[in-house]
């Protein structure tokens, strides 16, 4: 009986745990900005807790560097079970500028299963609140993949390429 009630009320009091995995602190400052009176996120019932065992939501900021990789896994395992992970900032969504550096393992998605990504460098506090509202189901998603095309091509290139592939043995060798 209590479980259904807990599930329904889960969205009304989310507790946030903030984990910085080697960020430049820009995203961390924006996360703390969200708790200031101007953009107050406590009116949704959220508060910042300091121990992952009390928290429901883990906010990851920063491209996950090599020394912090096992620690992020440990912190994720310490969160009790209905849990969400938000990756805040461009570094957490894909590694940012440093995605191919020697010390960076490339963003939060390679370490923990992330529920929501918040791109931005750093994301505006309103963007963070928007992501939280999206997770609670209050607003709709506003991005979708975009494909633009200049004009319809008068040439039938795709079939020509296929014919060429079948004909040329060097291409077959290179493909192997």
């Amino acid at each position: 009986m209590f479980e259904n009630l807990s599930k329904k009320l889960f969205g009304k009091s989310l507790w946030l745990y903030h984990c910085n995995t080697g960020a430049c602190n820009g995203c961390d400052i924006e996360i703390l900005n969200v708790l200031t009176p101007y953009y107050d996120v406590e009116r949704f019932g959220m508060k910042l807790v300091a121990s992952p065992r009390h928290a429901d939501v883990m906010l990851l900021s920063g491209a996950v560097t090599r020394p912090t990789l096992p620690l992020v896994k440990k912190a994720y395992d310490a969160l009790p079970n209905p849990k969400l992970v938000f990756g805040v900032g461009s570094c957490a969504t894909g590694g940012g500028c440093w995605f191919d550096s020697y010390n960076v393992t490339g963003g939060a998605a390679g370490v923990v299963p992330v529920n929501y990504f918040i791109p931005g460098c750093p994301p505006r506090p309103e963007a963070i609140i928007y992501a939280v509202a999206l997770a609670l189901g209050l607003v709709d998603k506003q991005v979708a993949p975009v494909e633009l095309k200049q004009m319809e091509f008068p040439i039938d290139v795709y079939e020509r390429n296929k014919a060429w592939e079948e004909r040329n043995t060097i291409y077959q060798l290179i493909q192997d």
Binding site: R43, S51, D56, P80, P82
Partner: protein
Amino acid sequence: MDIVYIVVNIIIFLAFAPLFEGIVRKLTAKVQSRQGPPVIQPYYDLIKLLGKENFIVGNWVFKLAPLMSFAAILSVICFVPLGYTANFLTQYADVITIIYLLTMGGVSILLGALSSRNTFAMMGASREMVTMIMVEPVLAMTFFVGAVKVKSLGIDATIFSVMNTGYSWAVLLMMVLYLMALQAFVGKQPFDIAEAEQEILEGPFIEYSGPNYALFKYSMMLKQMFYASLFVMVFVPFLYTGVYALDIAIQLCEIALVYVVIALVGATNPRLRIDQAVKYYAVLIVLALSAVGLSVYGI
């Protein structure tokens, strides 16, 4: 018939404690010029915490500690004469039992913290110990001021001593001292050194998650409401009507006013270091002893 009083006590305390905590949070937010959480937010917090997974990090003491703390504060609530009516359990306990049970609640927090095998929990536990030690004499003196006058240690005699024998200088001094010491009783700024100190250290509850943490939080809220109601019962007895339900309603309003004072003081003060808090309390303890001395001489 008397069991009704006990049941009403328990129900009122359990139902209203999170509401008053919500009032404190909302008022703190308004003083900081932001819109705070809704007033029933602690109810949501508790129910959500009950639905989370329970990690057991220590041994059997870890599992026992929240239950012990909740049980201690519930037993104290059963004895308390809310509404100016003593129930049948009140004659079986006296003032020393209340002090003992409150200390047992504090000790169970210490047990829970020390069985967590975490350095931060150990530091939080040591601060909680110091807070408990420094707070207890003032609480004891609050009771003894009344006990000395009526020459008995029974709960209803001591708590209603002001109602029965009227105000005196000792009682007024004790009232001021209780208000100044109230913040440490309930564990808010400037004295929330041990428990809610998630900003500086992690506090003694760092390894607790889910339902165990909900029990600890609930016992904290009940302890806050107990201390506020103790102030109302001992020092503000002049709105006494004879009707039970009306008395309870009036007392709840007065408790809400005490909570408003707690919230305002908590929102405007910084957190004191442990040695500064102990120095402040040393002065209060000396003054409390002098209040008891005044009441011995009948002033």
